[in-house]
């Protein structure tokens, strides 16, 4: 008899615990930020390193900033859909893919343009002429719904090549480098600084960069949950302000930026320096610069899931962006 | 056919020490004899059969069949076990055929049919072991041994798991077969009653280590 009560007690304890985990209300004093180990997100790394973010947000009641690293954007957004993250440094395309599926978030600032590179194995790179040389090759890039994937696929399709004419292997950046080293793939199309790692190892050569594929295409942005946009605008405005400061700092102090990135990722400073030299990276903060290519991404994602979204229109600016916060931030900044 | 056991001893070695199972067995078995070996449980009578079957080798002494030392099991010394030993995945027919198959004999059907007839197993050819009574199982085992045309048939308390009714019936049957085929049979049992019913010659074994106490030979009234 006693045993039975114990079992019932434990049962309720466990169900209660599980219920508590699922319905857990997030502490409002904790800000959870998602990012990836790519140079695009250097502004966040600098802002954290310098203590600007913590200091700036303290007066709004933020006691703790939790950073969460993800290998790729779609995974980052998936966690955000699960309610795990408040603000993301992430590619714009994953945000759009999320919003199509009901992600309650919007883009509030720009982070980065361009910087990707297509690297092919040395012997294949020698005979590379143009995009048509890629037919039949195995290329590693980020997962569907990420910016690299969409930029790459759109480039192919614009030239009249179906993505099925080559084998696109989707994976995170370090897996991509490993696959290239193992000879599993013929080339990679990845964000900085990963293409350069392969060049440095003498395995492959850069044949195309963002500039030659799609000049000025948007890459990363900052997106925030609608909840925050509705309720705690002042936190976001302060955050954008710090982001602007950090972005300018990265541009003006490249050596320190190299050091910081190396510290965060364990990638050799020489590699990062080479990436700065070879890849046309462009750190920005104005979200408006990203709008044209973001709308293109929205169309491509719509196309990729045509049947699923047939009853709706491709997403527009209003559904993807929330611009007033940035305007407020710069008006107060200067 | 002539089977000679000369000064046969068997000792088992284990972690706990050694156990002497048989000591100085001297025995001569002649063609067509029906020999019963009687002794208390654990006296080594099963060991004796296993030695003759070639499943084990004596520690000392020699066992000769027609002057040739026995070194391995062979169909010419067929052993019927106390436990049921049919192959459960084979039908009755296939069980009986097993030995012939192993020896690569060609016209197996003729031989198998002959022993199915002899053991009165007709109609049960396609049954499987679990569909047979204990008595049936032992009859199949006997048929399976006989169709290899063994020089000696060794039987190790084959009816000890059967009820007395079935046992009596099988006693009759085995005597019948003995008369019909003239096979040499060595039959081990712990029951003196069974031995006197069957055997024309009875060997009495002592407690462990098993030694021959006496050999009695008598004409059975029939």
């Amino acid at each position: 008899m006693k045993k039975k009560w114990w079992v019932i007690f434990i049962f309720f304890l466990l169900t209660g615990l599980i219920g508590r985990i699922i319905t857990r209300k997030k502490e409002t004093s904790v800000l959870r930020i998602g990012y990836q180990p790519i140079t695009d997100h250097l502004a966040l790394m600098i802002a954290m390193e310098k203590g600007w973010l913590m200091e700036g947000l303290k007066k709004y009641g933020i006691k703790k900033i939790e950073l969460k690293e993800f290998p790729t954007g779609p995974q980052e957004i998936h966690a955000m859909m699960g309610g795990e993250i408040d603000i993301v440094y992430v590619g714009s395309a994953p945000v759009i893919a999320g919003i199509y599926e009901g992600l309650p978030a919007k883009i509030i600032a720009g982070v980065h343009l361009q910087g990707y590179a297509l690297v092919l194995k040395k012997e294949i790179a020698k005979t590379y002429k143009d995009v048509f040389s890629l037919k039949g090759l195995k290329i590693a890039t980020y997962p569907p719904g990420s910016v690299p994937y969409i930029v790459f696929v759109k480039w192919l399709m614009d030239k009249g090549i179906s993505p099925d004419e080559l084998s696109i292997k989707t994976m995170g950046p370090s897996d991509g480098v490993l696959a290239m080293e193992m000879g599993d793939v013929d080339g990679i199309f990845l964000p900085p600084p990963y293409p350069v790692i392969i060049v440095e190892k003498g395995i492959g050569d850069i044949v195309e960069t963002s500039k030659t594929i799609w000049k000025g295409h948007a890459c990363c942005v900052i997106a925030a949950r609608n909840e925050l946009i509705d309720k705690t605008q002042e936190i976001l405005v302060e955050m954008i302000r710090i982001h602007i400061k950090a972005t300018e700092y990265v541009k003006n102090h490249p050596d320190e930026a190299v050091e910081t990135f190396s510290k965060w990722t364990n990638i050799k400073p020489s590699t990062i320096k080479l990436a700065f030299k070879l890849l046309d990276m462009d750190w920005i903060h104005d979200p408006e610069i990203s709008i044209p290519s973001v709308l293109e991404y929205a169309k491509v994602i719509y196309q990729l899931n045509k049947e699923r979204y047939q009853k709706r229109q491709p997403l527009g600016v209003e559904e993807i962006f929330y611009l007033p916060l940035y305007k407020k931030a710069i008006s107060e900044q200067f | 056919m002539k089977l000679d056991l000369i000064n046969v001893s068997k000792t088992y070695f284990s972690d706990k020490g050694k156990v002497k199972a048989l000591e100085d067995i001297n025995l001569e078995v002649r063609e067509g004899e029906f020999l019963c070996i009687v002794g208390p449980t654990g006296c080594g009578k099963t060991t004796l059969l296993r030695l003759i079957a070639g499943l084990e080798r004596p520690t000392s002494g020699r066992i000769l069949l027609d002057g040739k030392e026995i070194s391995e099991p062979s169909p010419e010394r067929a052993l019927i076990f106390q436990e049921f030993s049919l192959f459960p995945w084979r039908s009755v027919y296939k069980n009986i055929e097993f030995g012939l198959e192993m020896s690569g004999i060609k016209n197996r059907k003729e031989i198998v049919d002959k022993y199915i007839e002899l053991m009165e197993l007709k109609g049960f050819e396609e049954r499987y072991s679990h569909e047979l009574s204990g008595g049936m199982k032992q009859k199949v085992a006997i048929a399976r041994a006989l169709c290899m045309d063994p020089a000696i048939l060794l039987m190790d308390e084959p009816f000890s798991f059967l009820d007395s009714e079935t046992t009596k019936m099988l006693h009759k049957e085995i005597l019948n077969i003995w008369k019909k085929t003239g096979k040499t049979i060595i039959f081990v049992t712990h029951s003196l009653e069974e031995a006197t019913v069957l055997g024309r010659k009875i060997v009495f074994l002592s407690q462990r280590p098993g030694r021959i106490i006496k050999i009695e030979e008598f004409k059975n009234p029939e």
């Binding site: 000879g183 599993d184 | 030993s85 399976r144």
Partner: protein
């Protein structure tokens, strides 16, 4: 049988109904819990993929389970029959056995590259041990009396004893091991396809598409598909095996 089938349908139908209710009126967020009815529509959307993905996954599955059966039975017979082989192999196998199939992924990529055999290998690591252990148990359990009977009836070599006594006796064990191995192997299909070995497959579609586009209703369809296919394969396997090979021992393989 009929009773079983009715029960089966009622149970599943009730389960789906409860899910539907929870999804529509309690959770109310299709990302957290897509209503099963939306899965019906998704089936239509996904009609061009399902067959292709299923075929690819089945190919990975049969590569893995095929090799698992071959090596599992082969080595299982070896260690089940010969104590020396057992002594040589067993410690190694005991160390390898607890390693979960997913842990083999990095090795698989290095050894087999991004090919179907890489996926097959992951499935192999899942299916191999159930087959091996059952085969081993089956051969070890062969009653001594049957071996001795066979010896007396003229089966001389170890090979002929294994062929005529060991394997037939162990067959129900081996089949039950294959059944378990198939179940575990199928569970590994998704893991095997996560890392991009192919451009189709159930696991590929789940992780490379639905996950990255957050299409949870599609994911649900594929999850249900995984369950349904496994159930079907199991039923077919059991029917074929029990009816054909184990006439003499119905009821052992459950």
């Amino acid at each position: 049988m009929n009773n079983f089938r009715t029960n089966f349908i009622v149970s599943i139908f009730t389960f789906l109904l409860i899910l539907e209710f929870l999804a529509r009126f309690v959770v109310k967020n299709p990302v957290y819990l897509p209503p099963p009815s939306s899965a019906l529509l998704s089936f239509v959307h996904l009609r061009n993929y399902i067959l292709k993905d299923l075929m690819t996954s089945l190919m990975h599955f049969f590569i893995g389970v095929g090799f698992a059966c071959f090596f599992g039975i082969f080595i299982g017979i070896g260690i089940g029959w010969f104590p020396k082989i057992y002594n040589a192999f067993f410690p190694v196998l005991e160390i390898l056995r607890p390693i979960p199939p997913i842990a083999w992924i990095p090795m698989a990529i290095i050894w087999f590259k991004l090919t179907h055999f890489s996926a097959g290998f992951i499935i192999f690591t899942g299916a191999f041990f159930p087959v091996l252990i059952s085969t081993y148990t089956g051969l070890k359990d062969v009653p001594r009396v049957l071996i001795e009977t066979a010896k007396i009836l003229g089966a001389k070599s170890a090979l002929s004893l294994i062929r005529h006594v060991g394997i037939p006796y162990a067959l129900p064990y081996i089949f039950s091991g294959i059944g378990t191995g198939m179940g575990v192997g199928w569970m590994c299909v998704v893991a095997a396809e996560i890392f991009g070995v192919s451009d189709s497959g159930i696991g590929y579609r789940l992780f490379q598409r639905f996950y990255h586009f957050h299409q949870m209703d599609y994911a649900l369809v594929y999850m249900l598909l995984l369950g349904f296919v496994s159930l079907t394969m199991d039923a077919i396997f059991r029917k074929l095996v029990i009816d054909r090979f184990l006439k003499w021992k119905r009821g052992i393989v459950k």
